[in-house]
């Protein structure tokens, strides 16, 4: 269609490869309002805000109308203006009226449109059926009273993340976007990546705030409050204060934290450096012995939960390294209390993260010891920005200050963790020197950089060929895992970040929807790397010192205790069993797992055979049979439970034997009770 054009408000606009009128209208520099159009998602065409007048066609939605040569488009007729106003008014009539107290206030697109169209009063009666907000998730708050049903969250969750935790339900005026069966978000398969909240135009999905708890600890004189700042935060927070995306504000962040009242200010990039050593050590060991290859990175908690839920057979491929956030927490609790001479429970670790999933990670039971959490609170970049505003600081004008040592010292390798490809590159910078035993001048491995959601790189290091996959977005991760599983693809190391582009595009970052913003932040991090004195984690003198004084060597017992963890397979949806047959009260409970893994491994046939056995032995009255969903032993399925015993890799023979064994016990119990 090149060489042709359309008329937009009488201006000639060439058609270049645009698939729809909306893109052309934007090219004509007209800012058409939209709720449901995103270049990263499929076209839904439901909000009707993008309606334009096309000669000979009447009113059409620009987002879903392909351009044809010489089309005449008007974007601002009286009819269109009236209609837009009505749409926004109708949305407001169905909307919670609590704008000033909403987290999205000032970044909400509904609010912005109301202002833009000069809506000073709503002519329709308020129709809102007040529904309680869902605050069950550690990462997100879902307030259905603010939802405009644009479906953006639904599509990003299923199309980009391949999770599908939320969807439309009911119809007409009853339509809502909710998790399955109206369950709470923490009861379903949501991995807490928060991409839905990032894209939501209103305050219907927002990161859960921990600001109040943090202020409380800051104001408590007996607490020593320690901050750790993740790499991606430094190139994004400036956006909340009028700086362009990608501007590095490390010094201002330190100054702001100090002014707010944090006692110690450290850098998560320091523990990212530490992660590089531990994870590379593990990689070298595994790749040379051919043990659980590919190794998967483990620093993204949304990805980790994704594997635990959907790929039980790959759980042991995850690196056992804790994420930099959790390594920091463990070290801080271990070392700072003696160093600063306070009780361990009085050291409060606050992380500043680009991420909502980090809130979930900090609450994982693995990261709590004797009732003390390694990380006490997780603030998103946005929440930190709000604290800066609340404290009345002029962020832009703050004179740069420095972080505290030793955990404030980092190399460039620890900084690029904030973008997709960064972990891989940092690991390569270490592995290449470790395996060759030589120091290299250069440090950049540009082959792992780039913007595609799936990138592959082949490298030869000291005579070894390594194949890497660098993945961002969980839908992409699913594609890669499926290819690994089917044997179509082979990799040695797979890096996965749940958010497209990595943590720079995390849901805790200042609100953005244009992918250009993400690109600029990534650029900012690479520039940061170049500006720093050191670029390789192994050159970080404080890391060397830490091994000397506390950890011993890479992969040591002490390192394992503080810096590594374990994973588990995980049920997707918490719910009840399907009762298949029930005997009397004293009956033996038999549950057959019908979760996806076990189902694929033949639990249907197994159930059939068990029922056949029960029937033939006349045990109907003595057993309750249930179909259950996942005993979290998915890698070893099919799994059944007989009484209190879980039987993995179950066959009909094993099942019969177990029933027999429990059956004897049952008979004895009955005898005793007589």
């Amino acid at each position: 269609m090149n060489g042709t054009f359309v008329f937009i408000d009488n201006k000639e606009i060439p058609i270049e490869n645009e698939q729809n009128l909306l893109e052309l209208i934007r090219k004509a520099r007209v800012d058409l309002p939209t709720f449901c159009y995103h270049s990263e998602l499929s076209i839904y065409g439901a909000c009707r805000l993008c309606m334009v007048q096309v000669e000979g066609m009447g009113l059409v939605p620009a987002c879903s109308t392909p351009p044809t040569p010489e089309m005449k488009v008007s974007t601002n007729t009286e009819e269109i203006r009236k209609m837009r106003k009505i749409i926004v008014e109708l949305l407001l009539a169905n909307h919670s009226q609590n704008c000033p107290t909403c987290q999205k206030s000032t970044t909400c697109q509904l609010q912005a449109l109301a202002k833009r169209f000069g809506i000073t009063k709503v002519r329709f009666k308020n129709q809102l059926r007040e529904m309680p907000p869902d605050e069950s998730s550690p990462s997100l708050v879902r307030d259905p009273n603010k939802c405009v049903l644009c479906g953006d969250c639904v599509r990003i969750c299923s199309e980009v993340q391949s999770v599908g935790a939320i969807d439309f339900a009911y119809r007409g005026a009853q339509t809502v976007v909710i998790p399955s069966f109206g369950k709470a978000l923490d009861q379903v398969e949501c991995v807490n990546c928060g991409q839905c909240a990032r894209i939501c135009p209103t305050g219907a999905l927002t990161p859960k705030s921990e600001v109040d708890e943090v202020w409380k600890d800051i104001h408590n004189p007996s607490k020593v409050v320690v901050a750790q700042v993740a790499p991606a935060v430094r190139v994004a927070i400036g956006e909340m204060f009028g700086l362009p995306p990608g501007t590095t504000t490390t010094g201002q962040i330190a100054a702001a934290l100090r002014a707010i009242g944090f006692d110690k200010i450290y850098d998560t990039s320091f523990t990212a450096d530490l992660t590089v050593l531990e994870e590379s050590g593990e990689f070298i060991k595994r790749v040379t012995t051919g043990d659980r290859i590919p190794q998967f990175t483990s620093c993204c908690p949304a990805w980790v939960k994704f594997v635990e839920q959907y790929y039980p057979e790959f759980v042991n491929h995850l690196s056992s390294c804790r994420s930099p956030q959790q390594m920091f927490g463990a070290l801080a609790k271990e070392m700072l209390s003696s160093e600063l001479n306070v009780r361990p429970e009085d050291v409060v670790v606050v992380s500043i993260m680009p991420c909502t999933a980090k809130k979930f990670e900090a609450k994982r039971p693995e990261f709590e010891h004797d009732g003390v959490r390694d990380v006490d609170h997780v603030l998103t970049t946005q929440e930190f920005g709000r604290m800066i505003e609340e404290a009345g600081l002029h962020f832009k004008e703050l004179g740069p200050e420095s972080f505290h040592m030793p955990f404030g010292f980092k190399t460039g390798a620890g900084v690029i963790f904030g973008n997709s490809g960064g972990v891989s590159e940092a690991v390569l910078r270490y592995v290449s020197e470790k395996l060759t035993g030589q120091k290299h001048e250069s440090y950049e491995f540009t082959s792992v950089r780039g913007e595609n959601g799936i990138r592959e790189a082949k490298l030869s290091v000291a005579g070894n060929e390594f194949t890497l996959a660098v993945v961002s977005g969980l839908g992409n991760a699913r594609r890669v895992l499926d290819r690994i599983r089917s044997g179509e693809a082979h990799y040695d190391l797979v890096e996965v970040m749940a958010c497209p582009g990595g943590c720079v595009g995390g849901a805790g970052q200042p609100v953005f929807s244009d992918p250009v913003v993400r690109r600029q932040r990534t650029k900012g991090l690479y520039e940061n790397d170049r500006m720093l004195e050191l670029h390789k984690s192994q050159d970080n003198p404080y890391i060397t010192e830490l091994y000397g004084t506390v950890l011993g060597e890479v992969g040591s017992h002490k390192a394992h205790e503080l810096l590594h963890t374990s994973y588990r397979t995980r049920k997707r949806i918490l719910d009840e069993d399907v009762s298949i047959s029930s005997g009397d009260e004293k009956s033996l409970d038999i549950s057959v797992c019908f979760g996806t893994s076990c189902f694929l491994k033949g639990s249907q046939k197994l159930l059939h055979d068990i029922l056949g056995h029960i029937r033939s032995k006349g045990l109907n009255a003595r057993v309750n049979v249930n179909a259950s969903f996942c005993f979290e032993k998915c890698d070893k399925g099919p799994t059944i439970k007989v009484g209190s015993r879980t039987i993995e890799g179950c066959t009909i023979e094993k099942a019969i034997e177990a029933i027999k064994r429990e059956g004897v016990a049952l008979a004895e119990e009955v005898r005793q009770n007589v």
Partner: protein, 168 residues
Amino acid sequence: METIRKFERVCEIIDHNQRNAARLIPILQAVQAEYRYLPEEILTFVATSLGISPARVFGVATFYSLFTLKPKGKYLIRVCNGTACHVKGSMGLYGAIVKKLGLREGEDSTPDMLFTVETVNCLGACGLSPAMVVNDEVYGQLTPQRVSDIVDEIVLKEAQNESDAHGA
């Protein structure tokens, strides 16, 4: 053993539809024919075996009015409240049934799960208005008295079946 039969039937339905997610609607229809409603755990099972998210299945099940997630009584009475029937006093009929069955505000089924009452929009029997359907049988030109008699007939029939079953 009734539940086993039903569950095995669900497995059959899914296999019969080649575990094809595009066949979700016919699958749900067939499942509902077994249970007379769509139990939550069965929907999760359907989602699992079709490889789609439970939220999507829930969305489809709640979108179409032909599906119900609440158990329904053995006799489903659907009173038409389409325009023709409405004009002929269908809401009076509805009120009469609710009163006859002793349903309280917000209840649509009797505690013994024998009856469920609903309203629908036009049964396509406008010539017979006011009309209603009990399970598959259409009744037309109804009066509150006639409706009450229909309920009595069903109760009587059920009582007889019951005693026959016990007598046998």
